[in-house]
Structures are given as structure tokens and as C-alpha cells.
Point group: C2
């Protein structure tokens, strides 16, 4: 009775991955972790999807649920990754992939259609985006801070999350610079 590799969508592996940091989470907590980490590189799945993925992963034996005893009245399940789940995730990580990042950039889309509106409005749109970008950058900076530093052995498990967070921060900075240049170009 051989274990079939079971193809899953990327989001399933992403959630599985969030369960490899040493703790068991409820669906609600898993969604929070996704909002804190995943959100910056992979759209954080909807609540409904977190729960349906957990159900599916449970069905495949990749995560296991236990009823939370600390809240006996309340129906609440806490999920942990199983050895089979870890194996499946590692095998997914080892497989070659040609996946390329996919972007939905509403600001770029609107700019593409700039010939249909007043230039002043286009400028305002970009200015507003700059503000949103700064906010987002601050949010990620807070996450980055919580991940510690390479020099601190206590945070050794977060080496890769740190790299990704730094990548994200650089991205936001370069995006800021590019948008600022676009505003100048609109004016000129």
C-alpha cells in the first residue's frame, strides 16, 4: 500500500508550511499567521479557504486535529502537521517548478488606461498608492523586527523568513522609488 503523492494546490502547501514552525494552531490562528507572514508574498487565503484546506489536509492525513481540551464547551480544533504531512511538504519543495510570480497590480492597470482620464487624477492615484505602500512597508518592518537577527542564535529557526522579509522590504523600497519617478514623468 504505497502512499500516492497527492497533488495539492500551492495554497495547501503554504498552509502546511506555516504549521512547521513548531506549534499547533486552530484555523483562526493559522489565518492570523498567514496574515502576518504569507500576506506579503502570497495572498493570504480567505478564512473559508483555510478551514476547507484544513479539512482536506486532514482527509489526506497530512495534518491531524485534536479537540482543544482547554475550552471544553466551545467547539474548537487544534491542528498539527503529521509526519506524512512533513514528508509531503518536503517532497513538494524538492520538486522542480517553473512557477513564475503572478501579480495583480490595479495601479498599473489604471495607469495603462491613463489616456481616458485627467492627468491630475492619475497623479493623485499614484500619490495615494505611495501612501499605501509606506503603510504596507511599516507593517512588514514590524514583522521583520519580530524575526530577530542572524547573529542571535535564539532566532536561528527564522533565518529564511528573515531573508524573505528583507526581500519584501527591498521590494517596497524599489517600488516607492519607481512610483516617485512615474509621478515626475507625469508632471514633466
Amino acid at each position: 500500500m504505497r502512499q500516492e503523492p497527492v497533488e495539492l494546490p500551492t495554497t495547501a502547501y503554504a498552509l502546511l508550511g506555516l504549521l512547521t514552525f513548531g506549534d499547533d494552531l486552530t484555523g483562526y490562528e493559522l489565518k492570523q499567521r498567514a496574515d502576518n507572514t504569507l500576506r506579503f508574498y502570497w495572498t493570504s487565503p480567505a478564512m473559508s479557504q483555510v478551514y476547507s484546506e484544513l479539512t482536506r489536509l486532514t482527509g489526506h492525513g497530512l495534518v491531524a486535529a485534536r479537540d482543544d481540551q482547554s475550552a471544553p464547551v466551545r467547539r474548537s480544533r487544534r491542528y498539527r502537521i503529521t509526519p506524512a504531512g512533513r514528508q509531503s511538504l518536503e517532497s513538494w519543495l524538492r520538486t522542480e517548478s517553473n512557477e513564475f510570480p503572478s501579480l495583480k497590480h490595479p495601479v498599473a492597470l489604471r495607469l495603462l488606461l491613463g489616456h481616458l482620464v485627467d492627468p491630475a487624477r492619475m497623479r493623485a492615484l499614484l500619490e495615494k498608492y505611495l501612501v499605501a505602500l509606506a503603510v504596507r512597508r511599516l507593517e512588514l518592518a514590524a514583522v521583520r523586527t519580530s524575526l530577530g537577527e542572524d547573529s542571535d542564535p535564539a532566532y536561528d529557526g527564522y533565518r529564511y523568513p528573515r531573508m524573505v522579509a528583507d526581500w519584501g522590504l527591498d521590494y517596497y523600497e524599489s517600488e516607492r522609488a519607481m512610483v516617485a519617478a512615474l509621478i515626475d514623468r507625469l508632471d514633466g
Copy 2:
């Protein structure tokens, strides 16, 4: 009988926008145009979605179809944006939006889980991404070339598409630099 503003998904407006460059397209051609332009900033909609959006837009009177006479035997429809469609699109462009770009970055996701695999494999993943990035950049560069230059009055209608394409090229370049730095960091 007042025209209701009819809320549509962003993809519908994106497709509508691709019909504002002065020509009528079949669903197939519209998909091609999306692959040439939209793809770099907004995931190019699936064939099936292009057709279903065209059906819906027709229902709302925002585009109009005519049977292609040049191919009488073949069932083939050619779509053009209607005045109502143009108005709806312009009104959408004028409305404030808080939409933020959403990214699905499989490479960042895999890097986040780097603690589960061999560092050499992680490095290989990033190298491979660098190559894919270079290919994509070349594709966009070809599109950019076809959009002409600001100094040439013949290409005046493409001013905004040019800005977006240049933005994209800068993005690919900065992404390349960031990934190269990540590879160094992995090695160090």
C-alpha cells in the same frame, strides 16, 4: 430610466480597457492582446473568462458584437466598446480605490520554507528564477519597443502603456538585483 452603474470585477474593466485602443477584436484576439500587455501587471484572464466576460459585457450593453462578414461560414464575432462602455470605464477609472497589488510569489514562498530543504537546492531554485526573470524581461522589452518613444508623435496614444512597460522593466531589473543578493546571502 437611469443607467445603473453596474459593479463589475476588475478583470471586466481591464478587458474593456483593451478595447479602447481603436480597434474591434474577437475573443481570441482580445486574449492575445491581454497576453501581450496585461500579462505583466495583471494576470492574463483565461480564454474561458475572456468569453464569459464578453458575454456579460454584451448583456450590459458595454460592448457590442457583430458577426464577422469576412468569414461567413465560420461563427466568429468581433467586439467593440460602446459609448456606454466607454462611459462606464471612465467612471470606474475616476472612482477612488484602495486596491493594493496582490502578489503570488511561489519563489518567496519556497524560500520561506528553506529550513526544510538542502541549501544547495534553495540556491538552485533562485538561480532558475533568475533565468526565468531574464526571459520575462526580454519579452517585456520586445513589447516596450513596439510602443515607440515619447518623442515620436505617431505613437502618442501609447504614452501610458509606455510608462507602465518601463515600470515593469525597472521592476524586473530590481527583482534581479534582489535575487542575486539573496543568493550571495545563502552562500555566505
